[in-house]
């Protein structure tokens, strides 16, 4: 699987052009993309600038010598490259298993294009086998959970290895929702979830993805425009 993800990251990095502002997603495939991008910068001397959706990706980018700026310094991202937990034929997605959904969506929304990098196991006919992460403010979170639960078959707070609540980089909690599969309209579900006070962001992404790189077990990577 690592080899597949490495190839996806390399294929995706190949479309970066000189002078671009690049948004860095978060996750294992995004990490391979960052490595491949750093190699291209080294070898070809590309002048690019990166911003990141997490401290993890920022750290990796800095270690690899990529030019890195804070979000405050840019007005527009050319392409953000990111992974997904599930993606359907309409390019609707569930994201956020890594906990960076809020920053990932802010980056995506600020980008001319969001390029998605997935292995073929993430491609589904309809969304809903993966849990939908929902980022929630800490104040009154169990009341928010009660409202979330009315829209889900299960709704559990994400915890760290030590059992304590997982806290996002923006100091929020995450609840993972299993909803009645399949999710026929991610847009409607997203709207219902957003109406609940305390909900900051959902892992439902739609009407946003551009090109998709899909890696297969035979080692090939296909580009879906």
């Amino acid at each position: 699987m690592d080899q597949i993800k490495e190839r996806i990251g390399q294929a995706a990095a190949s479309i970066v052009e000189d002078g671009m502002v690049i948004g860095l997603g978060t996750g294992s495939t995004a990490a391979y993309f960052i490595q491949a991008l750093a190699k291209r910068v080294d070898v070809e001397g590309l002048t690019i600038v990166t911003v990141a959706s997490s401290h993890t990706s920022e750290k990796l980018a800095r270690e690899l010598g990529l030019s890195f700026v804070s979000m405050d310094a840019i007005d527009m991202i050319d392409i953000t490259f990111d992974g997904a937990d599930e993606i359907d034929p309409q390019k609707q997605m569930i994201k956020g298993a890594g906990g960076a959904l809020l920053k990932e969506k802010i980056l995506a929304y600020a980008s001319r294009e969001l390029v998605i990098m997935v292995d073929s196991s993430k491609c589904v006919d309809t969304l809903g086998k993966a849990k939908v992460p929902v980022e929630v403010v800490q104040f009154g979170h169990h009341l928010t959970q009660a409202h979330l639960s009315s829209l889900a078959t299960s709704c559990t707070m994400r915890t760290r290895g030590d059992g304590k609540p997982f806290i996002t980089e923006s100091q929020h909690f995450i609840y993972d929702l299993l909803v009645e599969s399949p999710i026929n309209s991610p847009a409607l579900l997203d709207q219902q979830l957003r109406k609940i006070p305390g909900v900051v962001e959902t892992g439902l992404f739609y009407n946003i993805a551009g090109r998709i790189f899909i890696g297969y077990n035979d080692g090939t990577v296909k580009l879906l425009s």
Copy 2:
């Protein structure tokens, strides 16, 4: 004006019943309500419990000896008493001039009833003269502002007296939006604002208010059911 607000607070406190869980709003009228409630508890020996939408209201409640619990300790609020910046005949409101809109909405949404206390100057035919506060995560906030601006005629970051950004109790920024007056559909505007990644909450409240106490310059307080 203070005398009017005091009378509104007293009138509102009169509907509190023994045994209730009470949500405390934030603002000058809410402060008078808290004082009147504490007086009733003192004089009548009511057994009530309070939760608050801000540290300011929590501090006042504690100082006045009201029984206070954290939001984590309760499942449901009987009545939340709060003010509003503008309210129209359909009980649609703009709230958040005090910066507590997020917690106020979480309290309201967890309450059997939201009772609103306003002086008559806050009653308008249509919303939109007051600015609509929007609570926004700090990460990439100027990108969020750019998206907010596309829905507003002006969109300015709220600052403190010293010119630094106003930061909410949940560590977010607030942008104050002046939108094309009047706001024909607060629900639609709320939905459009919420779709923007980085938006945590808006000051548009609708389909949520129960009874309204309105204070007039002649010293009368009317109750709108």
